[in-house]
Amino acid sequence: MSKLRQTPSQTVGPFFAYALTPEQYGYDFASIADGALVEGDVPGQRIRIEGRVLDGNGDVVPDAMIEIWQADEQGRYAHPADPRGSNVGFKGFGRMGTGTDPEQRFIFDTIKPGSVDGAQAPHINVIVFMRGLLLHAYTRMYFSDEAAANARDPVLASVPAERRHTLIALKDEASAGAVYRLDIHMQGPNETVFFDV
């Protein structure tokens, strides 16, 4: 049977906020998701993830949208394809625009995910959207304090060694809570690794 052609992607453009991230930007429309992934009594270590998106000039991008998708503390996804089921109340999806923070950061308050299948190191799946990206870009975020697991991770192993650091969020040891930072570089010497998912 001949297949239907996949619908082409088009850019999210600069004006997504009142529909996709309305509460964050102060519009009178309910958000389905935001930067706070933890509701109520979800087990797991509370962490904050923050970063900026930078263009090829090193300028901060103020109109990007970042989505994250992650497993719970036991590495389970809240989705029917994961036969183990997930914690009730932890959906694992977050969405933030970079246009409201004074430093144009994305900030997610979440829990640290567990290893998904034993083989993969704890990680968060990231999708990057912005004006000027005709097709969204997928990347991942690993954790600097998981060095042993990172060393065994098959996806990191598929990335040239000199580029792996672009995927590893650095724990801020000076911070009272558990804060991890990772900037997303669209271009340049530290261009983030993007994946063909």
Binding site: P8, A19, D196
Partner: protein
């Protein structure tokens, strides 16, 4: 056996770098994408159902009314979400946003000197039914100028965002209207491979047109399909 998704068909997708669309020049990744072997991280994705929607979310002519009806031509936009194997995709969240009839977005960054409509937000969402069908009622968006090049105008369009059943099926796109003379001058639309541009244009459908109320347009989405691969 485990689920996985057929690869993205790069022949139907725009490139990251399309210099006619000037914002791509400093924002397009320059290094090749690294292939990822699909795992649970890629074949799962966020699930949002009808329970997360407000009663008027799919009717943009009513969901932001402050006392009067929004100005402009009412339209109905309907269609199906399919995968590339032709299978309907039920219970899929669709989010939309658009300019008003005058070509002005509510977003504070939009400085186009056209009037805002106090009764129109331009945001909406719905969930596909058991046959993968969705329907929005809205106002036909206007064209608007932008700064890409001299005398640049975006053709009328509605932005769509779909998750599909997994992270790998995520789709953000724009739907255009048939016969729009601005399409040929629009670098965003023209960035799409020539043989796939028509896939972004809705069809006028008399059968979806409601007498004395609104013109009907049809627009289908095709997402990546599943295939089965042995677990190693």
């Amino acid at each position: 056996m485990s689920e996985s998704y057929a690869p993205r068909d790069w022949s139907s997708q725009p490139p990251y770098l399309h210099p006619d669309y000037k914002s791509t020049v400093l924002r397009a990744p320059t290094k090749p994408l690294i292939p990822i072997r699909q795992s649970l991280s890629e074949i799962t994705g966020p699930v949002y159902g009808q329970d997360r929607l407000g009663a008027l979310d799919a009717d943009l002519t009513r969901n932001a009314v402050k006392g009067a009806e929004p100005i402009g031509e009412r339209i109905i936009v309907t269609g199906r979400v399919l995968d590339e194997n032709g299978r309907p995709q039920p219970n899929m969240l669709i989010e939309i946003w658009q300019a008003n009839a005058a070509g002005r977005y509510v977003h504070v960054v939009d400085q186009h000197a056209a009037p805002l409509d106090p009764n129109f937000l331009g945001g909406g969402r719905c969930v596909t039914d058991g046959e993968g069908r969705y329907t929005f009622t809205t106002i036909k968006p206007g064209a608007y100028p932008w700064g890409n090049h001299d005398n640049a105008w975006r053709p009328a369009h509605i932005h769509f965002s779909l998750f599909g059943p997994s992270l790998s099926t995520r789709l953000v796109t724009q739907m255009y209207f048939p016969g729009d003379p601005l399409l040929a001058f629009d670098p965003i639309y023209m960035g799409t491979p020539a043989d796939c541009r028509e896939l972004l244009i809705s069809r006028f459908m008399l059968e979806h047109t409601q007498p004395l109320f609104a013109l009907g347009y049809e627009f289908d989405f095709v997402l990546r399909g599943r295939h089965q691969t042995p677990v190693e």
